[in-house]
């Protein structure tokens, strides 16, 4: 009896088996790789905002300190998004007819908040606290990047748990003097590790890796 399948079908069968094995092994690997891609983490993608607020202009050109607007950062878990009335402190006087600021004026007049889109989004089971980080020598730039160079803010850090732990296990690699917290361009005059170890001892910085540090 003639063969039911031609000879080349052996190759097809082997190919299919290899493909299935590859798929079974590769798909989880691919998925695990994919969740770590900047695309999935939202890293480096500027977010559209209802107002074209330009951090580069306000920080670099005008020299406004981060804490003028994010005023709760030293006291509260959240740094605080400024209220409309804070914007109007200046923009009641300058650029007070600019069409770019129409949503701000509308918010101020109606009392309805401006709905900003969140850039740095942590899962709901993560309790990050700004106050303790800036109070113990972690600068804004360490997590948020050079916001002073961003026309539209985007997420610089991956914000994964591994990334958090890198610093929580060895905070000395990122510590800076408390008076340089909001300085976007600060660099240590000596090797960072040397400075970091010294500050770690001075500020009593601990390596906080127990789960309830962040998960409650």
């Amino acid at each position: 009896m003639a063969a039911l399948f031609p000879r080349w079908s052996n190759r097809v069968a082997r190919g299919v088996i290899a493909a299935v094995v590859l798929l079974v092994l590769g798909l989880p690997v691919a998925l695990m790789a994919w969740v770590r891609t900047p695309y999935n983490l939202g890293q480096g993608y500027p977010i559209e905002q209802p107002v074209q607020f330009d951090h580069r202009h306000h920080v670099a050109d005008d020299g406004i300190d981060c804490r003028y607007c994010h005023s709760a950062v030293e006291r509260s878990s959240t740094a605080g998004i400024p209220s409309t009335s804070l914007c109007m402190n200046c923009h009641g006087q300058i650029w007070n007819t600019s069409p770019l600021l129409a949503p701000v004026r509308a918010s101020y007049e109606t009392g309805r908040p401006i709905a900003w889109n969140r850039v740095h989004q942590l899962p709901d089971f993560v309790y990050f606290d700004h106050a303790i980080h800036v109070g113990k020598g972690i600068g804004c730039v360490s997590c948020h990047g050079r916001v002073d160079l961003m026309p539209r803010v985007f997420q610089v850090a991956p914000l994964t748990m591994g990334w958090c732990l890198d610093c929580h296990r060895a905070p000395e690699r990122h510590l800076r003097p408390l008076d340089q917290i909001t300085n976007m361009a600060w660099t240590p005059d000596r090797p960072q590790l040397e400075v970091g170890r010294e500050l770690k001892a001075r500020y009593g910085v601990r390596e906080m890796t127990t789960c309830t540090t962040c998960h409650r």
Binding site: I47, A72, E74, R75, S76, S77, T78, G80, I81, P82, S83, T84, S85, L86, S107, Y108, T110, G111, R112, P113, I114, A115, W116, N117, R118, Q121, P123, D124, F125, Y127, D129, A131, I132, G135, K136, G204, R206, T210, C211, T212, T213, H215, R216
Partner: protein, 977 residues
Amino acid sequence: MHHLPPLSGASGLTRRALFEWVGASLALAGVGGCAEPPTEQILPYATQPPEVTPGIPRYYATSMVLDGFATGLLVESHVGRPTKIEGNPDHPASLGATGAYEQASILGLYDPHRARALLERGQPRAWSAFLERYGLAAPRSHRWAAAGGAGLHLLLEPTSSPLVAELLGRVRAAYPRAQVHFHAPLAPLSPLEAARRLLGRPLLAQYDLGRADVVVALDADLLASGPFHLRYARQLAERRRVAGPTDGMSRLYVAEATPTPTGVLADHRVRARSAEVHGIALALLAAVVAALGRDAPGGLAAALPRAAGPAAHGDQVRAMARDLTARPGAGLVVAGDRQPPAVHVAAHLVNALLGNVGRTVWWTESPILEAGEPSHGLGPLVDALRAGAVETLVVLEGNPSYTAPADLELPRLLRGVADSVYLGLFENETARDCRWFVPAAHYLESWGDARARDGTLSPVQPLIRPLYGGRTVADVLAVLAGLAGRSTYDLLRETHARRATGDAAAEFEAALREGLVAGSAFPRADARIDLARAPSLLGPAAAPAPEGTLELDLVQDARVYDGRFADNPWLQELPDPMTKLTWDNAALVSPRTAARLGLANEAVVELACRGRTLRAPVLVQPGQADDAVSLALGYGRDGAEAVARGVGVNAFGLFLAGESPFFSGGLALTPVVGREAPPSPVMPPARRPARHRLAVTQPHRSAQGRAIVRRATLAEYREAPRAAPAQPRPVQTLYEPHRYEGVQWGMTIDLTVCSGCSACVVACQAENNVPVVGRDGVLGSREMHWLRIDRYDEGDPDSPAVSMLPMLCQHCERAPCEYVCPVNATVHSPDGLNEQVYNRCIGTRFCSNNCPYKVRRFNWFDYNADRTETQKMAMNPDVTVRARGVMEKCTFCVQRIRRHEIEARIEGRPAPDGGFTTACAQACPTGAIVFGRIDDPRTDVARLRRQPRAYAVLEELGTEPRVRYLARLTNPNPELT
């Protein structure tokens, strides 16, 4: 051959197409899981209030009012949204503690079943329409407007509010013939009536349990109900908290029918039917007079009424009397609010004879408006309704259609009133019987004021604007008084300013800040007991009920009160402190009575009493007085409250007007025989006792011979202060010991002062976003409480020694749960916490199986899935809301620990030095739960752990828990042991 009928509408779908669709939906369901979470939005304030910082909670002082009495509270608010209630430490009714009602009231605020619309005969109306009809300019259409108010009746709950008093005065000034009535089913009328008879004035007795060496509570649940129960619990606990073998303890005698938290703490608990308490009070008085002998006022002994038969419980009563007389001026006899005035008279006489008056007990004016006057009670209103003399009836809060004595037939009479208005939180039974319905504001949405039991003036300030446009009693009274244009806030300030001694605005601000007006408690009234007249007020003691007849006992419910909290799922699921019953009420009978009548748990019986009948399931309650059948009021609701509807049976059906509405003899109890579907068509339907399953969280009370609760008498403790010696087996382990560094946290629970009141359970639920599973969930043992209170009975099952054991995660230093978790989702922290990491948990439940304390709870379903937007507002933002499939348990309120740690470290302190505690410890009225640092030997918790009576539950397992219990001490009278 049977042919199955075709499924209707199924003809268009072939088998193949069905599988295609099923396959496609499954595939798509998987894809749906890949969707990114939506981008969150941040909504900052348009104008940020200067005092608010997002992320930092604020606390405001306010007061919760129950039947007219205020309890001072501090309410936590996150950016304008109240989330948690704590006691106000400066307020006399709270002393920093809270009860279950206060804790759960935060959920009541966000109840999705609250009424939202102003209605006239079910049709939505605007507030302006209401104003037009009842405001001063318009009510010319009413005949009473021209007749000086004749035909206008107001029905309120008892109130102590100066603002409401002022507005009622204005309404009366405008309509002098208008009539005001007050009604609340559980309002304490009897004590005031007793005072009126004995002292000539309806004064309110005030107690100081802290100065009493001997306390006798005659059917008085001093520690868990009534307006000052938090204070009394604290005072009693301070006298019973033993720090060392030389310390003394006060002694507590309780006579009651059904066990209460007060009875749990009693050194001697007399099981007495409620009707017997009168006889006990008279016997106690007679025994005290006899013991005083010649010191007793002349002629008193002869004037006392003779008991009709041999006094029951004679030995115990005589021992009580000797104990009381041995400590003149340091004893206290308290009669319960349910008891008739004669019992109160007897209690007061004992106190007066022994010189306790002025020391442990004194009188003040009652803070309740028109206390002791005929306006309290429904009699005059019902007469007017029956006579057709009511043109307009304005019902302000309460739920009289449900709570009025059944024989008054108030619902029918209400429906007969052409023009009636009801202000209420829910469209309940009363709303249905009234023409107009006005949604009420919750107390957390209201401006107002009230007085505490001792008269302390306590402001009520809103934490949030009314969610559903609710109005307060003052708002509606202002309309009737023609002040509709004025805000209640302004009226409150004016009322307050009239009382001010200096700068009115500053005093008002201070009152709001502190939650009370300092020094506003009433002074002691100068009251004289007329000893000559007193014996005539004692009434004849009822003849002992014939053997075998039953007594019906209607009791206040520890969870829903008089039914007003029945829509609160936290309270419905709170296990009753004594019976551990949830989502139901039941007819409680003693084991002996149950055996005599052949009843078992869950059997449905028909209660027939005073010509009315009611069906209820039976629950056997060890410690219940024989032949007394207790049934909690407040269930069987029939309003629009979806949670409350159909839960339990309505005991108000047996609640009848009269001198003692709460109990009566002559109860007949018949088992109900139901028709049960036969197991096969050839068998006839069986007639067997009808059964109603009861969701009880702890079906048995035995410790199985293990020393889970360690008990000793004070005398035994003095002899051998160490709690029963522990014999921990040497524990061999392959695991490395944990590395502990820095601050170490721990807890102690003093079983000597834990009454089992369950305030901590609700406090934990509120703080930690603990979900509710419903009756079916509890029946499946799936309740989620992180903290439960176990009840253990010892000794005679009829009259057991009851101990309460709050059980929560023990934070074992060698935690069995940690060893078995395959994914490291439960681990140990360097400061001694057993941590549960929800985002790692995959739900194997190995940890729960390996936990000897059974304190781990598993989310079988997504209990938080269908929360409405308002319900979400009740959530604590500092605690993760858990999803389906993860294990959870007590965290020692780690969110509070970390918050205070961060605060301390920012300020440069190495660690928090007190200033906070866990939610359970903060709520605890008796201070039984103490939490803090055990690494610092000066803290309370460290001192308590060093006490010789400290022990760990199941310490023989070598788990080395961070929670230590202090053995339960009692101080029985040596005469009676």
